[in-house]
């Protein structure tokens, strides 16, 4: 009986151990991006922009050209890269603090300009790297280290639905919200990433994939509990589905 290789590291992933916590969906999404890069055959002409946050070390994990951006500024950095090298597939990978707090202007304006880049938005409603502070997408009532009693709208305002907000702009060609917490969700997540990259190759302008993700460590849950939390609490506030497809 001959052995058959049925599962292996994608070529676009470097042979480096991830630094993520057990059960963190960053690992899953990184793998999906790498598989998409392999399947589209773009390892030689793709450039990734990594954020400030837990994924700050993504330049170690991906085997393509990478650039580290200042907190929130990845879409501006991506704009600079893409405008000079339009034949490259240029993508950003950002958390909710990076994309929706400090970087909100760069997010909105790169979408409004219709920059032909792909933005992968990892929305887990917390600032994981810095110890679990409140994020613009932290749910009402959800606890964090800067709202210990739980998010209170009178003190902390309302969470932001980024995908719906960007959909009011004419610039984006494609925006979808997905949750890789079920088998179907995993399939949809990878397909959304692939569609976003394909849109860019087809010259279709800005696309964003909002991925509802977890943070077992800062949510103080087990990985399995954290996936349930997304299904039961997060998805009702951040509905899944295609929001823009032009």
């Amino acid at each position: 009986m001959t052995m058959q290789k049925v599962f292996e590291r994608p070529k676009a992933l470097s042979d480096v151990n991830f630094s993520y916590c057990s059960g963190c969906l960053h690992s899953v999404v990184h793998r999906m991006i790498a598989e998409v890069i392999d399947e589209l055959g773009i390892i030689e002409n793709t450039i990734g922009i990594c954020p400030v946050g837990c994924a700050v070390f993504m330049y170690d994990f991906m085997d393509c050209d990478m650039i580290e951006a200042a907190h929130g500024r990845a879409p501006a950095v991506a704009t600079g890269v893409k405008r000079m090298l339009p034949e490259n597939v240029v993508w950003t990978y950002q958390g909710d603090g990076d994309l929706a707090s400090i970087g909100m202007a760069e997010t909105v304006h790169s979408a409004a300009r219709g920059e032909n880049i792909s933005v992968i938005f990892i929305n887990n409603g917390t600032y994981g790297m810095t110890g679990g502070q409140m994020a613009p997408t932290t749910l009402i009532g959800q606890k964090s280290t800067t709202c210990a009693a739980g998010r209170d709208v009178s003190l902390n305002g309302y969470p932001i639905r980024v995908s719906e907000m960007l959909a009011t702009l004419d610039g984006p060609s494609y925006i979808e919200r997905v949750a890789p917490v079920t088998a179907a969700g995993l399939t949809k997540t990878k397909a959304a990433i692939k569609k976003s990259f394909q849109n860019q190759i087809d010259g279709k302008s800005f696309s964003l994939v909002e991925i509802l993700a977890n943070c077992p460590t800062q949510w103080k849950m087990s990985p399995v509990e954290s996936l349930k939390w997304i299904e039961e609490k997060v998805i009702p506030y951040y509905p899944l589905g295609v929001i823009v497809d032009r």
């Binding site: 470097s14 002409n45 650039i67 951006a69 704009t79 600079g80 405008r83 034949e87 304006h109 300009r113």
Partner: protein
């Protein structure tokens, strides 16, 4: 042409093919003219959503190996400081223009020179330096900007053109050179997409291991030492027999030039020392003047910033006096002649106190 226009022309002549900026007076002509010129030369122009976004676009474009520029004025340059630190730490070439205005705070649109510290001592965080060039004429706006791109590439470091509202807005005739020498080196470090390259390129300034971070810092310090060896630029006028030398840069030096002619006509032996590179600072050259017994009167449109570097250079060998106006006030030549007269022949400390009374 206007100084601001010459900045653009010099940049394009040197091969600048990307400009990212934002409106702010008194440099609005720069993005406006770039918006017309960049498409003509197949380059990229973006009016970014802010000065913060603009400097980050510069960082991205510079990382691809392109010659890229941004421009702003004092409050906007404050916004760029984090991005500038990243560019320096990532060893990327870029040109940043500051057409200084009155400050601090929102300030006004009159000229100023109170961003010297920010430019030269590092307005952003960490141990880095910008190479800083200060034009005083429309011709220098063109030539120094063109030179800035070569220096940025030579050292893989951001270069700042430190102008002011007068220099940016002045209109003078200029002999535009036929061609500008543009020495663009190979950039094997650039992110371009791998295109068959044996390994990936990463542009980064995060080094958790403190030994690696220290090694980067040592490399940067060595680079700055090399700049200090090779890139000092200055002009001296009538300093040989001068007893008093005025030290000034940019628009202040233009006014001082007139004042010095009048002082000479009154019989005073006065000269002008004009730093063109503010970093690296012409310390050795100033020290030499002090060693030859010349007293120095530093004049700036600020509370006194460059004067600290003059004092450091002179290191007690001679008197260093200061005269300045703040908040956008511009000297008249008569005012400077009065200061020179007061300083001439007295100890400079007394002279400045005398003038203040």
């Amino acid at each position: 042409m206007k100084g601001n226009e010459a900045l653009v022309r010099g940049a394009i002549a040197a091969g600048c093919r990307a400009f990212f900026g934002y409106p702010i007076t008194p440099q609005n002509e720069v993005p406006e003219y770039m918006s017309v010129m960049m498409p003509k030369v197949g380059g990229v122009f973006i009016q970014a959503e802010s000065e913060v976004a603009a400097i980050n676009m510069v960082y991205g474009a510079a990382a691809t190996g392109a010659r890229v520029m941004t421009s702003s004025s004092s409050p906007g340059v404050s916004l760029k400081q984090e991005g500038i630190s990243y560019i320096a730490a990532s060893e990327l070439p870029a040109v940043i223009v500051n057409v200084q205005r009155g400050g601090p705070g929102l300030g006004n649109i009159a000229p100023g020179q109170a961003d010297y510290f920010q430019a030269v001592k590092g307005g952003g965080h960490g141990d880095y330096k910008l190479l800083v060039l200060a034009p005083w004429s429309v011709t220098e706006c063109y030539e120094l900007t063109a030179l800035a791109f070569d220096l940025a590439d030579k050292y893989r470091n951001p270069v700042m053109i430190l102008g002011d509202a007068i220099v940016g807005q002045m209109i003078e005739s200029i002999d535009v050179p036929e061609t500008v020498e543009a020495n663009v080196p190979e950039k094997p470090w650039a992110i371009t997409g791998r295109h068959g390259r044996a390994s990936k390129n990463v542009i980064n300034s995060l080094w958790i291991d403190v030994k690696i971070m220290e090694a980067l810092n040592l490399r940067l310090q060595a680079k700055y030492a090399e700049m200090c060896e090779n890139e000092v630029r200055w002009r001296e006028t009538m300093t040989d027999d001068a007893e008093l030398v005025v030290v000034a840069y940019g628009a202040t030096a233009r006014i001082a030039r007139t004042a010095i002619d009048r002082a000479r006509a009154e019989g005073m032996k006065v000269g002008l020392f004009r730093p063109i590179s503010l970093y690296p600072f012409p310390s050795a050259q100033l020290k030499s003047l002090a060693e030859r017994g010349k007293r120095l009167l530093t004049i700036e449109m600020s509370a006194g910033q460059m004067v600290e570097d003059v004092r450091l250079a002179v290191n007690g060998l001679s008197d260093v006096g200061f005269y300045g106006r703040m908040g956008g006030v511009v000297f008249t030549p008569t005012e400077l002649v009065d200061q020179i007269r007061a300083a001439y022949g007295n100890s400079l400390e007394d002279a400045c106190a005398e003038a203040a009374r």
